[in-house]
Amino acid sequence: MDNAEDIFATAAAWAAEGETVAIATVTETWGSSPRPAGSRMAITKSGRIAGSVSGGCIEGAVADAAQSVMQTHAPKLLDFGVTNEMAWEVGLACGGKVKVFVEPLT
């Protein structure tokens, strides 16, 4: 574990403030994906975002998915990459592939 940025501390602080929080985690990568498995992002219903799961190319789509996860309370496993452009509109410019697990903090 080498992430200098402590997403868990941020997520815990937001939850303590009464925010609804979702956590997105890179669970698997192939090819030249910019952030390794274990990279995380925290998202609140009110729109706050911390951390990252890519070089910036898919954060928007992950934040959108997090909003729906916070509504339904059902976790989602998202697939991003060149071969999945049909499933998700966002691809990775670097040609890598990542899977991102999005879940509510409960």
Partner: protein
């Protein structure tokens, strides 16, 4: 993720206790491993992940599990709360190191000069004995004072620290190596010390020297072997 799990992960982190976080990607179940109550194959996967410091997804018993190796962050022990340390502490922290500053001189090692830093006002050899550097720890001496630097290096050379560095010119370093050799360290053991410390980038100012030290630390951890 449950808040309880999140807090347990934070606790392990602050205690420098290695744990694996396991998440069932189909039903969302989560565990902290190793755990005697957990299935044997999950515990095995967790131990393998921690040993290799590898995070990823595994198929275990027909189910997809995300297993995250959460080893303690790399640690940097600095001997000497000197001017260069004032640049090195924030830069090392930003790079992801947990920094411990050792200086028995409270006029140097204090919260005024190093707001928020973890400071131990102890003799360096005693501090090193207490902190017990392991393979995720680096030790860098910065005082130029043999009374402080030498005992720290003497003790650190007996540890598994992945990096030992000593600030000082080539001449200072040669004299230092001679003193440490007289304490019984072999030339092979002494070759573990990077001195003069830092990558040679022509650093002049304190922040530049700090940068060269961090660059050498990163290169030692991650660079081509």
């Amino acid at each position: 993720m449950n808040l309880t799990t999140l807090h347990a992960l934070q606790q392990a982190q602050s205690a420098r206790r290695p744990v694996a976080f396991a998440k069932n990607l189909s039903d969302g179940a989560e565990l902290l491993l190793p755990d005697d109550a957990a299935p044997e194959n999950l515990n095995e996967a967790a131990k393998t992940a921690l040993a290799a410091d590898k995070t990823g997804t595994h198929t275990i018993g027909n189910e997809s599990w995300f297993i995250e190796a959460r080893n303690p962050p790399p640690r940097l022990i600095l001997i000497g709360a000197v001017h260069i340390a004032q640049a090195l502490v924030p830069l090392a922290t930003l790079t992801g190191f947990e920094v411990v500053l050792v200086d028995p001189r409270t006029a140097f090692g204090n919260q005024d000069r190093f707001p928020g830093a973890k400071i131990i006002n102890d003799w360096p050899d005693d501090a090193i004995k207490t902190l017990r550097p392991e393979i995720r720890t680096a030790v860098v001496t910065l005082t130029h004072d043999p009374k402080l630097d030498d005992p720290a290096l003497d003790e650190a050379l007996k540890s598994d620290a992945f990096y030992l560095g000593a600030l000082g010119s080539r001449k200072t370093h040669a004299a230092r190596l001679a003193r440490l050799a007289a304490l019984g360290h072999s030339p092979e053991t002494l070759s573990r010390i990077y001195g003069p410390v830092g990558l040679n980038i022509g650093a002049v100012t304190a922040p530049e020297i700090a940068l060269s030290i961090i660059a050498e630390l990163v290169s030692t951890r991650r660079g081509p072997k």
